[in-house]
């Protein structure tokens, strides 16, 4: 069985974000980078599937600058067999359509039985790439999965809907699935596996060689949200803060009445 998992490297969401000089995305200096949270669930599920079926080859794919190779190594240490890095210093300017077209030019003649993606990227949050890839490849896709099972060429899964309701769905492979929070608990790479991962194949291919399609979306402006007056921000010593908070709760709420 051939499996592909697509991951994105994103900044830690607790970072302070500044708009870049061109005004079209965030400034990428002074940020801590990690694997997109939803993609961790995707990698974990792909590794579990590989363990389940035994005979499987699992490729992790990531589009981005050389910096993303670090995050790909984590996926290799979690259990992916090989890495396909699509080198693109300007991937952040590409919209989901262009990113999906790059993934498809890599995947189209490689006969993957299952493709895993996250349901959305934390920085862009468009939730489009996975479904677009499947549609471009002409294979079924199941989205927002919180449960995944595979047997005899069929994926049986549960999609998460609003209000805690789930939908039971299935489809035949080849297929693509997008992974949601709660699907599984991603493993931590062990030290021996981190060492082993260093020897795994991790090939970089320039994006231009894959003839990506042009973006369909234009970004006009990026800015922090306007502060809507907002509330009071208190800083300082915890004991003082506690006193201030109690005073406020007494004055502004009936919680302490």
């Amino acid at each position: 069985m051939k499996i592909l998992v697509c991951i994105k490297q994103v900044p830690d969401m607790e970072s302070k974000f500044k708009v870049n000089a061109a005004g079209n995305w965030y400034d990428d200096t002074d940020l801590a980078w990690r694997m997109n949270e939803y993609d961790e669930y995707a990698v974990e599920q792909a590794v579990q599937l590989k363990q389940q079926v035994g005979e499987a080859d699992l490729t992790v794919l990531c589009i981005g600058s050389d910096r993303v190779r670090e995050t790909m190594k984590k996926a290799l240490a979690m259990g992916c067999d090989r890495g396909a890095h699509i080198a693109d210093d300007e991937s952040y300017l590409k919209d989901s359509y262009a990113i999906a077209s790059l993934i498809v030019s890599y995947a189209k003649d490689r006969g993957f039985d299952l493709i895993f993606t996250g349901m959305q990227s934390q920085d862009r949050g468009s939730g489009q790439v996975g479904v677009l890839v499947a549609e471009m490849l002409g294979i079924p896709s199941l989205t927002t999965l919180v449960e995944f099972n595979y047997a005899d060429g069929t994926v049986t899964a549960k999609r998460e809907l609003e209000g805690g309701i789930k939908a039971k769905v299935s489809c035949a492979t080849p297929a693509l699935v997008t992974c949601q929070l709660g699907l599984n608990t991603p493993r931590y790479p062990t030290l021996p596996n981190i060492m082993k991962a260093k020897k795994k194949e991790l090939i970089s291919t320039p994006a231009a060689e894959l003839n990506p399609e042009a973006s369909l979306l234009e970004v006009l402006q990026v800015a922090p949200p306007e502060k809507k007056g907002g509330g009071l921000v208190l800083e300082g010593d915890p004991a003082d803060l506690a006193d201030q908070l109690i005073k406020i709760l007494k004055e502004k709420t009936t919680a302490l009445a």
Partner: protein
């Protein structure tokens, strides 16, 4: 601009997001019409043309078929924009439709500014103004961003959409309801919630103690529930409970939209977070910038001593 709205229907009922779609279209002026896979016996309050396919024939969840039915309506109506809710139905269908139309897709719109659509990025810490370069755009709206002041009224002019063959590459085998039982937070007057910022399950006690000191219940954000530190019935948010307490204390919760959706109607929100820029600050009445492991126990102690 002509807009086609894609309404939602689940388990025999119309969903509340439909009024947000209508409100979005009405705000923009212009012409609009609606598409729904639903039932003739439960029609949305809407003034305009409603293209209705029967869910009994087309299935409530059959994305490839719904896409095809929509493409037929789009060909007839020639809208410049197709609008769906950014929901489990909408974000699943929208990219399928966008690709078939080779249209740009704009996900999770929160605002219209100078005629352009604005979407959030980086857990709402940034906003992007974007523009489609294609003649038709597929758009999804963030839940709650376009809630109308008043529910829409009117009766639609129904145009029946024929469903030839069902088929499709995905089999839908029904719904699984949320587990009943557990804690009903919807009636709680005071809720103290734990987020991922608690760091480890042992720290949950700190949150529970504050909840006790305030004579309230404790709740949690999704990651804390997924990690099985807290019972799922205590989850607040789109996929958990919607709460409206007098006081909501968010400890180590960043304020992702799906969490806010479940608690933003709280009367008073106190957030405790080490990140001064955490999006929870947008809706909090007070944001105490502090390590919850330090502040919460002191606060609890002082409350208990009162």
């Amino acid at each position: 601009m002509k807009i086609l709205l894609v309404a939602e229907y689940r388990d025999g009922k119309l969903l509340g997001t439909n009024s947000e779609l209508i409100n979005f279209a009405t705000q923009g002026g212009g012409e609009n019409c609606m598409f729904l896979v639903g039932s003739n016996s439960t029609l949305p309050n809407y003034t305009g043309k409603l293209y209705l396919a029967d869910a009994g024939q087309a299935g409530e969840f059959n994305p490839s078929l719904h896409k095809q039915l929509l493409l037929n309506v789009i060909e007839k109506e020639q809208p410049q924009m197709v609008v769906l809710a950014h929901s489990s139905y909408g974000w699943d269908l929208a990219p399928r439709l966008a690709l078939a139309l080779k249209a740009a897709q704009i996900s999770e719109v929160v605002e219209v500014k100078d005629g352009n659509l604005v979407v959030p990025s980086c857990n709402a810490k940034l906003r992007r103004q974007v523009k489609s370069t294609t003649d038709i755009a597929v758009v999804t709206l963030q839940g709650g961003a376009f809630t109308p002041a008043e529910e829409p009224s009117g009766a639609p002019e129904v145009i029946k959409v024929e469903v030839a063959a069902a088929g499709g590459d995905i089999q839908f085998a029904g719904y699984e309801e949320a587990e009943a039982g557990g804690v009903d937070l919807s009636k709680a007057e005071i809720i103290v919630s734990a987020g991922r910022g608690i760091g480890k399950p042992e720290n949950l006690e700190v949150i529970e103690n504050l909840a006790k000191a305030l004579k309230g219940e404790y709740g949690a954000s999704r990651p804390v529930v997924d990690a099985e530190w807290v019972d799922p019935s205590r989850q607040v948010g789109t996929t958990g409970q919607t709460v409206t307490p007098k006081l909501y204390v968010a400890c180590g919760i960043s304020g992702a939209i799906q969490h806010l959706a479940g608690m933003k109607k709280s009367e008073f929100v106190l957030a405790i977070n080490t990140d001064k820029d955490a999006p929870i600050g947008e809706i909090a009445d007070v944001l105490a910038v502090a390590d919850l492991k330090q502040l919460v126990p002191i606060l609890t102690e002082k409350l208990n001593a009162m």
